[in-house]
Symmetry: C2
Amino acid sequence: MMVFKSMYVFIALCLGMSGIASAQQAASNLPDAKASDPKALGIMQGFPPAPNLQVKFADGSMWAFPKMRWSFSHVRELGPTSNVWRGSGKATVLPKNINKTLDQVTFTSLDGQNLTWEQSLALNYTDGILVMHKGKIVYEKYFGALNERTPHIAMSMTKSFVGTLAAMLAEEGKLDTQALVTQYVPELKDTVYADATVRQVMDMTISVQYSEKYSDPKAEIWDYIRAGGSMPTPPNYSGPRSLYEFLQNLKTKDGEHGNAFAYKTPNAEVLGWIVQRASGKATAELLSERIWQKLGTEEDAYFSTDSMGTSVAGGGLNTTLRDLARVGEMFRLNGNFNGQQIVPASVVADIRRGAIKENFAKAGYTTLPGWTYRNMWWVAPAEQGVMTMRGIHGQTLWIDSKSDMVIARYASNPVAANPANDPISLPAYAAIGAHLRATSK
Amino acid sequence: MMVFKSMYVFIALCLGMSGIASAQQAASNLPDAKASDPKALGIMQGFPPAPNLQVKFADGSMWAFPKMRWSFSHVRELGPTSNVWRGSGKATVLPKNINKTLDQVTFTSLDGQNLTWEQSLALNYTDGILVMHKGKIVYEKYFGALNERTPHIAMSMTKSFVGTLAAMLAEEGKLDTQALVTQYVPELKDTVYADATVRQVMDMTISVQYSEKYSDPKAEIWDYIRAGGSMPTPPNYSGPRSLYEFLQNLKTKDGEHGNAFAYKTPNAEVLGWIVQRASGKATAELLSERIWQKLGTEEDAYFSTDSMGTSVAGGGLNTTLRDLARVGEMFRLNGNFNGQQIVPASVVADIRRGAIKENFAKAGYTTLPGWTYRNMWWVAPAEQGVMTMRGIHGQTLWIDSKSDMVIARYASNPVAANPANDPISLPAYAAIGAHLRATSK
């Protein structure tokens, strides 16, 4: 059996995450998907599990690799959560038409490897992947701790759900995207958000001194995670103990709002706060009423919550892979699914159109040329017809309208950086889309 | 608005819980059901809730009255939980035939008050109550923070579920009730359980120095609750940090096993450990497979878990009221429900027969003359035809076969003692049973 080191994600990341090569290097020093399979290793098995195979919140081991490969499918067993009720109706049927040719589809990764689809899954530490084509499941596989009925943490894909809810409220006239943030959340009047609009928050063109760099232990992302209740606090901790307390500490800009895309997770928490104030409902309840109950989901979803019960809007949602695929189908079909218009077609169209390219380009995402970020969705150039939710460690909902394809993917890549996933995932998704277009009539 | 004091249950109980009179006195000093209604008070409402209306795990306020009236219906929002999956099948229909005459049924409480059924509900701080008669819902009401789809904490009713699972495994030959506990859990060889049999654990005739007296802050119950992860630990806490660690500290007997009933919650944790070892499955998974999926429940249930993921077998289960009623119907029908034998009829019959009366009598339960405790169920004398699950703060599943009646009840009585509930509840249940017998053909 392999020796477990207290190998936190952020320590692994200290190897350097500035680009593709370093991400690959970090990954190459870690056990591969098979060697880190949580079931094969016996993580959290037995009554009690062996001491070195226990996953605990208090010692931070839930985020340590390879234990996180178990945790990501068992978040509720490690902390407080709020339920996203599926309702009492029947689940929508996702018809199956498994396509065995997909495993052998080949592609070249951005760093020059010739790979098959099947190989790509392990290289990216996939926990579950489901491909839908023209409304049918053509591929569905689970690995490690995940199965078809277990919710997995969606990480930053959560933001796209919150962005969608905000856009829906705006469409209904319940939220003014041109208004100042402080119209809904006066508590932010002494922060960088004082002169920001709701739209700037929704598209993340906020200027705030806040580092999302997981490789820096002093980066504000760690304060955020502790404030959100997802990591234990040290004995003499004096920092913020709730998300809202954390947000009120963001007082320093590093430029002006509205000019450049800057991916900062607190924006999603601000938007979650706005959405709750505008709707009068908790995020979990609103998501249940507006989307989860209407989709005909199979299982309840849930959010991680902070110490005062606030659902973590920046990354706290957990869903099954199949329900995530249903969400993708609904967006592919312009919001219409299960016999009803769930998200207004105008909201979907607004996301598809994307945001301002010049703003996005300033952020320097080399793997996403010509993309934008709109309503907290990642949107490819129009000719590609792709809109996606993206979460750290490899979480993806990939909606490729030109290929009539949706890919839902949960993963536990030990490297918390998109450069660790994109070089393989992006060309792999493109290759599957091209293959399905070429082989279907 | 009323002033909130940090009025912990156990402090309220320091008034003295030795009998009915003192329990009534403790209750009379507290706001009544209406004045402590968590919705009307605004507990955990707003984004964020007002500071004095927030319920937090870390400050212990989840167990403080009246905040606990909210917490008992929101346990998962305050700590880690394990899911009891309902499966993917249809929920069984519970037909309704509401009987409006029940509210005015009168009875005399054990302390001499003349009351109606309707009055009794508020006096006992009822959160939800459902009466079934001959398989139909004749009464269903929700108060405070509870509704028909929200799970509520079952407290010690959990023990009856674990006792049932143990009896089912015994019936299948997977668990030897005459064997020593240490055959399944050798880790208990240096504890009082070293020379105890599984049967003695199931019927709670274990001799162990352990105080369940909530009114004593030094009682071992508080160590147990902290070890189970249901209360925060003080800064310099050096006690057990898991249920299994706690159990291994129980080293002192106060008599001999097998002679007298003694209600001690750790016995349920020992039985939970045995059940997991004998079945090879986690309690939550076993309950799902054996009962929850087969009943056609409406909602998933869940357990609170300790720091290493062990479901709290002594009191951690949370279910909806309706699903609890389904469990009751299944037992009333000798284990046969939803078109299948879910619990073997022999197991139900064994519970109905009860345990040894002389052993139970030694425990001095003045409100339960002639009763016994079998497989962690409370069983009335045979002529009454009543078997019940009982939980602190007023949780009840009351199965009265002679009246073809099941009563499921969730409550948040501020006084954590049966003498606070029994003087009203026991005669109330009997009166409803008699009324239904007398008025139905």
